[in-house]
Structures are given as C-alpha cells and as structure tokens.
Symmetry: C2
Subunit: 350 residues, 2 copies
Amino acid sequence: MFRDKNFQVTNIAELGEFKLIEHLTEGIKIKNSSTKKAVGDDAAVIKSAKTQVVTSDLLTEGIHFDLTYTPLKHLGYKAVVVNISDIYAMNAHPKQILVSIAVSGKISVEALEQLYEGIYLACDKYGVDLVGGDTSSSLTGMTISITAIGEAAKDKIVYRSGAKETDIICVSGDLGAAYMGLQLLEREKKIMQETGSSIQPDFAGKEYVLERFLKPEARKDIIEFFEKENIKPTSMIDISDGLSSELHHICKQSDVGCRIYNGKIPIDLTTGMLVEEFNLEALIPALNGGEDYELLFTLPVSDYDKIKDNKQIRVIGHIVDKSEGLSLVTEDGNFIDLKAQGWNHNETNL
Amino acid sequence: MFRDKNFQVTNIAELGEFKLIEHLTEGIKIKNSSTKKAVGDDAAVIKSAKTQVVTSDLLTEGIHFDLTYTPLKHLGYKAVVVNISDIYAMNAHPKQILVSIAVSGKISVEALEQLYEGIYLACDKYGVDLVGGDTSSSLTGMTISITAIGEAAKDKIVYRSGAKETDIICVSGDLGAAYMGLQLLEREKKIMQETGSSIQPDFAGKEYVLERFLKPEARKDIIEFFEKENIKPTSMIDISDGLSSELHHICKQSDVGCRIYNGKIPIDLTTGMLVEEFNLEALIPALNGGEDYELLFTLPVSDYDKIKDNKQIRVIGHIVDKSEGLSLVTEDGNFIDLKAQGWNHNETNL
C-alpha cells in the first residue's frame, strides 16, 4: 500500500531470461580479491586463504514478506542483510552472495530493478560481491533465495557451542523493535483494507520501529569492535527468532543453562510505548518477536572490562549449570522459565 | 499421478521448524575433509586449499517441476544433480551443498523425508556433503533452492570464454531425451485429466527418456576422464537449456563462431522414435529441448586422439571465426543459423 506505483512497465518476457540477468547484473564492480569470477559462467570462482562460512536463506512472499507494505528496494536490502547477519554471527566477514529470485511473469523489469537496487545498496554497505544466482519464473508469489559466503581466520570462528558456566551473556543494540514495526504495519494494512482508504497512515515518531522491520542492519560494527579489542566470544548467534529461542540454541549446543534479568534487556523507548499501545506483555517482542538481527553472545567474565564502555553492548545475564535450566529473573526476584518459541511463520505471518 | 499416496501423514507443524530440520538432517556423515562444520550453527564452515566454484539454482513448483508426475525422491535427487552439473561444467568437483526448501503447511513430514532421501542419495553418489540451508513455509507451492560448492586447482578451472578458432566441439552422452521424457509425461497427464482415468500409463520401452527427465545424472565420469587423460577443455558449459543456447553462450563469451553438423549430434534411438511419434522436427529436442545435463566443451584439434576412443564423447563440429556466425550444417550441405532459445519456462512449463 505504500509502494510507489508509478513504475514504467516493461514486461520481463520482453527481455527474456538471459538479457534480464545481464541487465540486472551489468556494471558490477568486484570489491574483494577473493572473488575471481562473478556472474556470467556456470559457477562463480572464489579463492580464499582463510576459512569460509556459508549460509543460505529462502524468503517467500506472504510468509516472510508482504509486498503490500514492503518497498521492493527495502526487501532487496533486507534479504541481503538477513543473510550476512548469519556470517557476522560466526565472527566472520561476508565477502560474496548469490541471489536467486523467482517472480511471476506479471512483474515488471522496473520492479526487479528496484529490488536489485536494494541488493546492491546492501552489497556496497557491507563490502560484499554479488557473484551468482538466477532469475526464473514463479506461478504465484515472489521467492528470494540468498546464499552468503564469508571468511575468517580459523581460530576466530565462533560457534553456538562454547558458552561456559559463569560467562556473561551480552546483546547488541535493542530488541523487539522490528516486531513492533510489523504490528504497526499490519494494523494499518487492516484498517486500510476495512475502510478502503488509500491515505498514507501517519507514522510520525514511529520511524525507528518501521526501519528496524523494513530495513534492518547487520552488526558489522560489533565484529569490528571484537577485532579491535581482541575479544573472541565463547559463543554467538544472531537474533532472528527472538532472544528466548536463540538462548535455547546456545544453551542446548553449549550444554549449559542461563539466567537473564528482566530489567537488563535493552528495549528502545518507541518500542516500549508501542508495546503499551498494543496492550502486549512488556517482554514479548524482545523475547519472542524476532527479526532484530542483533548479536547474542557470551564472554568470559574477565572480558567485562573490554566491553563495559561500549554503549551498543548490554550484559543481560550469565551462563549457569545445565541443571538450573533457562530462566528470566523478574524485578521482584521471581524466576520464569524461558520457553523456546521458534519463529512460527504460520502464526505470525512474518 | 504416479506418486505413491500411501504416506503415513505427520503434519510438519506437529514437529515445528527446529525439530523438523533436526529430523531431516540427523545422522549425516561428513565425506569431505574441507567440510569443518555442517548443519547446526548460523553458517557452515569450510576450509579448502583449492579454488572454489559456487553456483545456485531455484526450482519452483509448476515451473521447474510438476508434482503430479514427479516422485519426491526423484525431485530431491534431480535438484542436487542440476546444481552439481554446473560445478562439473567448471571442470571442478562438487564438495558441499546447501538446501533451502519452502513448502505449504499441508505437506507431510513423510513427504519431506522422501524428498531428502533423494537429496542424500545424490549426495552419496557424488561425494557431496549437505552442510546447510533451511526449511520454511510457503503459502502456495514448493520451492527448492540449492547452492553447490566445488573445488579445483586454479589452473584446471574451465570457463565459457576460452574457445579458439579450429577447436573441435564435443558433447557427452546424447541429447534431447529429457525433453521427450517430458513430452511423454505431459501427454499422459493430459489424457488422464481428460479421461479421469487413474490407470498407470504403460511406458514400457520408454524408460530411458523418462529417467533422463526424472532422474538425470551429472557427468562426473567425463571430468574424471579429463583428469586421467590430462585434458583441459578450452571452454565448457553444461547443457541445461538445449545445445543451441549453450553454443551461443560459449561463442559469445569466447568471441567466436561455430559450425556443427546435423548428422553428428548424438541422439538416442528411443528419443528418435518418440520425435517421430510426436511429429516433431528431428533436431528440436536436441537443439532447444534442454535439461540434458550433458557437457558441451571445446578442445584443441591436437587433443582429438585423446578422446576419439571414448564412446561417451562425440565431436559435433568446430569453432570458426566470429564473422561466420553460428550454424548447423545439414546432410545436404545447407547452412542453418542456430538460434539462441533460452529455456523459456513460461512456454514449456519445465
């Protein structure tokens, strides 16, 4: 509903598959020396002296994104960010991506150009080369599949499995904002559908949560900070499914328990206000909302001094013995079990 | 219509996303020393001393495959083969794949197990490790996205761009069979839809073309033959869109022309018979059919002796100066321009 409809319209069939790919990938400038050959052959060619990390995600229309309120440029940007966030979560640097897209024949070349504009913008911001993928038809909605390849020195790579008892638990940035951005967009969509109104809703003062949902960033800065301060987390994961679910992954793979503190969880002011406006339980968006793309990591207590002055990092708790389970400690000292709630796309339409 | 419907039915929602991925990937045994960490973290970890080649493909239901006549096990197998065929086309060896799948909530766990059975079968046959990917929901049909990673010594990698005038043009195996397999399946599907019949059609004697379409193989043997005989093609591509289209890719990127000979194009007997039965022009399936996954490559004339006794390789023509264009020479000496026909999924429903 917020999309610019003033497209010039060229049907993709007019160009044909090969010309379309050529058109969308022409003028790419390679940024990384490890990229030996990008698009244009049966496969891309990469030569890295380091260890590589590889991750892949598939986004489908109506499940992972809603084109009624997602500008295509933002969608392209976000699709890249979501993937390279997984690379940073390994304490590595993203270097290459492959992008495969399936679209209905009805989509215009100009619409695809907007999508790719967002993809290239993210590539530029994060120093990543687009090296391959394909564009094909879909009978129904749009599907975007991205594979990201990153690299790091072997001994720098951080897994989910290294958290130790007494380690401190940290998160970057703040949590729950993307979830509230989504709630806001869904509410306005519903109102517009019910009233038939086409007036742009007034989102003044709520830009932060919208941007967190529509155009998130990956925490390159945190990985660079680790390098500078010579920090290597004992475990790390990116928060895509909500803090609670990610803590379960770390605790399960590290064979430990955790204790986090209600009052320590970083929540932005706008997020907090919207949580009240929507009558939600205060911590639901942070614990179970997802799509924050912040980093959750554990550090030996001895590293506390290195991070305590970084305003982008908050200590939210610590690792305990497995037998103590996973709990949230409320301000009045009660312990609440943290439930693992996967990112259930069927329920949340995210 | 040929699918075994006697599934035990467990809804994927009963398991949940994390358990489902765990279930589908449990018991994986890693085959390659370059695979340092497979599924289970934010990204897979790979360390290769060689140069890597990476390719990605997205397959969507109704466009790239039709579940009414494609057994899920075959589909999983084929989805892997299609991707690693691109790796072989670089004269490299596939080592890892990432598989992302989006399915409607209606699909059963048992159906996904069949799909993965085919994926693992291909992984075993070709010595590839499944290292990542994800499984998510789709509002409509099934989508499969696979990324394949291979490796080779840097100086062994073959591009599309090295073909030189006088080079001989070779293809492996035979062409057009997969296209006739598809025609056969589409014809029977139509008959069954029109008559409402549920009797399995009699495909006796036509197994070859069906298998070429439903369960193709990638030409690992040819790459191994090159190694053994110390052959390095000057250019190479896999035939996924039909011989004509692939020749255009090679000629364009090598800045040359080509001449191929009607009588030299390898066509299997069953394919030939079906071409007559379907009243098609004799060379259409080979030139424009696609999905053969054979290798098309060029060699210096001096290498002819090395390949002449290999029954799996046929010389079909030679490279000429760019000014001579791309032509097919018929038995009576006429020259026909080879048209680049992309694999138009909208038209052929493949």
